[in-house]
């Protein structure tokens, strides 16, 4: 092969190589973009419609026996009779007391359960079995009684991946409690059209709360 032919051949090979390279550059087989982490928002721990005429905020501690009594004796019926009919918007607020060893952990479980729409179910289970887990500290088996295995897995995942957000939500509830001078649990704040009607520490029978709510709704 003479020199000009060799040069042409080399140029052709170089050109081909350059073209191939250019093609790789313009159409890279790019890896799929990294999945964007969805911003995590804590679902509200609430029952009923936000547009309800009366807003009830209840600060509770999962280890507090009076809170258990209020929830099981009174709040469950409020949820059925007033929240379901759009008359009351009930917001559960955490107020874990320092003396209660496991109440904050229980609040974390309940908060995480809200992400699978099981806040009320887990709250009820925790209050019902309060005497058991508050002694043993074994909360997961109680939570597991009202969640499917898949839901439990998701809740555990949320608890480990969003620990800080959950903690911040609990702290926010405590802060809001301080703002209305919560000194004990349970404490119930009732508002209507943004006006605070009462801030009542302690417990009351369903009939009493019903009478109060009815009188306010009638105004």
């Amino acid at each position: 092969m003479n020199k000009p032919m060799l040069a042409i051949l080399l140029l052709l090979v170089a050109g081909l190589a350059a073209n191939t390279g250019a093609q790789n550059k313009t159409a890279p087989k790019s890896p799929s973009p990294p999945a964007k982490a969805e911003p995590f928002t804590m679902p509200p721990h609430a029952s009923g419609s936000k547009d309800a005429p009366i807003v009830m905020e209840v600060w509770t501690d999962f280890e507090c026996p009076h809170c258990k009594e209020l929830y099981l004796r009174t709040l469950r019926r409020v949820i059925d009779d007033y929240c379901a009919s759009g008359k009351v918007y009930l917001i559960h607020r955490d107020y874990p007391l320092p003396g209660h060893q496991h109440s904050r952990e229980a609040a974390r479980w309940a908060s995480a359960a809200a992400t699978v729409g099981k806040y009320e179910a887990v709250t009820e289970a925790l209050f019902t079995a309060q005497e058991t887990w508050s002694v043993s500290g074994s909360i997961e088996p109680v939570v597991a009684t009202v969640l499917s295995p898949a839901e439990l897995q998701k809740v555990k995942q949320v608890m480990s991946a969003h620990k800080e957000e959950i903690e911040a939500a609990i702290e926010n509830d405590v802060f809001l409690g301080h703002e209305v001078q919560v000194t004990q649990t349970p404490t119930t704040k009732i508002s209507q059209k943004g006006v605070t009607l009462s801030v009542s520490p302690g417990n009351f029978p369903y009939a009493t709360l019903k009478s109060y709510l009815d009188s306010q709704l009638a105004k």
Partner: protein, 148 residues
């Protein structure tokens, strides 16, 4: 007939008791009755159905008794009622304490736990009310007592 000195002491006791009753009632009346209902319910003595009417009526009843005590009207009728009421409150506190309930007294609104202070104060008030009751019967019959 009581001595003038004792008479003055009993008058002071009656007015003090009346002012305390009026003040306690005023605090309860000025807050939501739901708050007072929670205080009543915490004692775990009364049936659920009675909590609401009591929470709504008792503060007004206390207010009336306080004003009447201060005015000195019908003391022979009012003082025994006040004594019975205070004895009832004191018994309720003893009952709660013996049951181991860690609750608010509810005497002057929420935020005051039952303890030695509340026992001392309410015990003193019962003694004072008893003294006023006994004194009202030992006293003569001034004009303002003719209704008694």
């Amino acid at each position: 007939m009581a001595s003038p000195k004792l008479d003055r002491l009993l008058t002071a006791a009656r007015i003090t008791l009346g002012v305390i009753f009026t003040y306690a009632a005023f605090l309860k009346v000025s807050m939501s009755w739901l708050t007072f209902a929670a205080s009543i319910d915490a004692y775990q003595i009364l049936p659920d159905w009675s909590v609401t009417p009591l929470a709504q009526l008792l503060p007004w009843f206390e207010l009336a008794l306080g004003v009447l005590l201060v005015s000195g009207f019908a003391v022979r009728w009012i003082a025994p009622v006040v004594t019975l009421l205070l004895a009832g409150f004191f018994s309720a506190m003893v009952h709660a304490h013996m049951k181991g309930l860690d609750i608010d007294c509810g005497c002057f609104g929420p935020g005051e736990k039952i303890g030695s202070n509340t026992f001392l104060r309410d015990g003193t008030l019962v003694a004072l009310a008893l003294a006023v009751t006994v004194g009202s019967f030992l006293r003569g019959s001034p004009a303002r007592h003719r209704l008694q």
